[in-house]
Subunit: 145 residues, 2 copies
DNA sequence: TTAAATTTAATTGAATACAATTTATATTTA
DNA sequence: TAAATATAAATTGTATTCAATTAAATTTAA
C-alpha cells in the first residue's frame, strides 16, 4: 500500500538524514573548536594547510570542494587570527598563495585531540564507519564529476 | 607508519565526506527545485507540510531539526509564495500555526518527480542505500539526544 | 493569587555557501 | 603583436544556520 506521493515523505528520503547528520556533526564540533577559536570551515581549511604548508586558494578549494566565494572570507579570518598569510604569487599574479605561519603550525598541537573527542560523541562501529566512509566518497564522486 | 597528527588529515576524517556529501547533494537539487521556485530548505519544509497540513513552527522544527531562527524566515518566504499561511493559535498565542494552502498542495504534483530525478544522479545500490540510511539515523540519534 | 519559571516565536549578529558577475592577469590564436 | 580566450580571486546578493537574547503568553509554585 502506498501512493505516488510516498516518495515525498521525509522518512523515505536518503538525502534528508545526510543533511541533518552533517549539520548536527558540525554543531557538535562547536564546543571543541571554540577552545581553538575557530569554526568548522576554518578547521578543515587548517587541516589542508597543516598537510601542505603552502597552497593557492584554488588548490584549497579543490581539496575542500569550496569556491573562492566561500574561501576568500574564511582565509581572511584565518589571516586575521595569524594562522596563515596571504600573498599574490610572483610567478602568476592571478594566484593567491596561502602559507601556514608558525602560530598556525602551533595550533595543530591543540587540534590533535579534537577528532577523538568528536569520535566519542558518535561511537560508531568501525566496520560501519568504514562502510559509511566508502559510500560517502562513492556518492561524492558521482555528484562532482 | 604514522604519527599522532595523522588523525588531522582530511582523508582520515569521517565527518568531512559527510559534510561534502550533504553540501553537494543540496547543490544537485538546485536545478530541479529551481523549476518549482523553492530552495532545499523550503522543499523539506513543504515535505513536512504535505504530510501534516497544519503544524506549529515548533513541530516543524522537531521534524527538520531546525530552530525558529531558521524557520521563521523560511516560512515567511513560503507564505509570500502562497504555499502556506501563518497565524497565531487562538488556544495559545505563543504558538504560530502554519497551514498548507491549495497552492501548496498543488505544488506536490510538480515535486513528485524530484526524488527520482535526484536518485538517478546518485545511482546507489539499494543495499548500500539502506545501510547508509540506517547508519545516518543511528548517528543522528546519538548526536541529538 | 501573585511571583517565578517555562515555553514559543521572533530578532540579532556572525559565519557559511553558492551563483553570477567583475577585475586583473596570463595564454592562445589569428 | 593584437585580439580573443581562459583563468584566478574577489565581490555581490540571496539564503541558510546557529547561538544568544528578547518579548509575550502560559504554567507552575510558593
Amino acid at each position: 500500500m502506498g501512493n505516488k506521493y510516498d516518495v515525498l515523505k521525509l522518512r523515505n528520503q536518503l538525502c534528508f538524514p545526510l543533511y541533518v547528520c552533517a549539520k548536527e556533526i558540525v554543531r557538535s564540533y562547536k564546543p571543541y573548536l571554540d577552545e581553538l577559536d575557530i569554526t568548522y570551515t576554518q578547521y578543515i581549511t587548517m587541516m589542508v594547510m597543516w598537510e601542505h604548508k603552502e597552497l593557492r586558494v584554488k588548490d584549497i578549494g579543490e581539496h575542500l570542494y569550496l569556491d573562492s566565494g566561500t574561501l576568500t572570507s574564511v582565509l581572511k579570518k584565518l589571516e586575521e587570527k595569524g594562522f596563515v598569510t596571504r600573498k599574490r604569487s610572483e610567478k602568476d599574479e592571478r594566484d593567491l598563495i596561502v602559507t601556514l605561519t608558525d602560530k598556525g603550525t602551533a595550533l595543530k598541537e591543540k587540534a590533535v585531540h579534537v577528532p577523538e573527542r568528536l569520535g566519542s560523541c558518535i561511537e560508531l562501529d568501525p566496520q560501519k564507519a568504514k562502510m559509511l566512509y566508502d559510500t560517502l566518497y562513492e556518492v561524492i564522486g558521482k555528484l562532482t564529476k
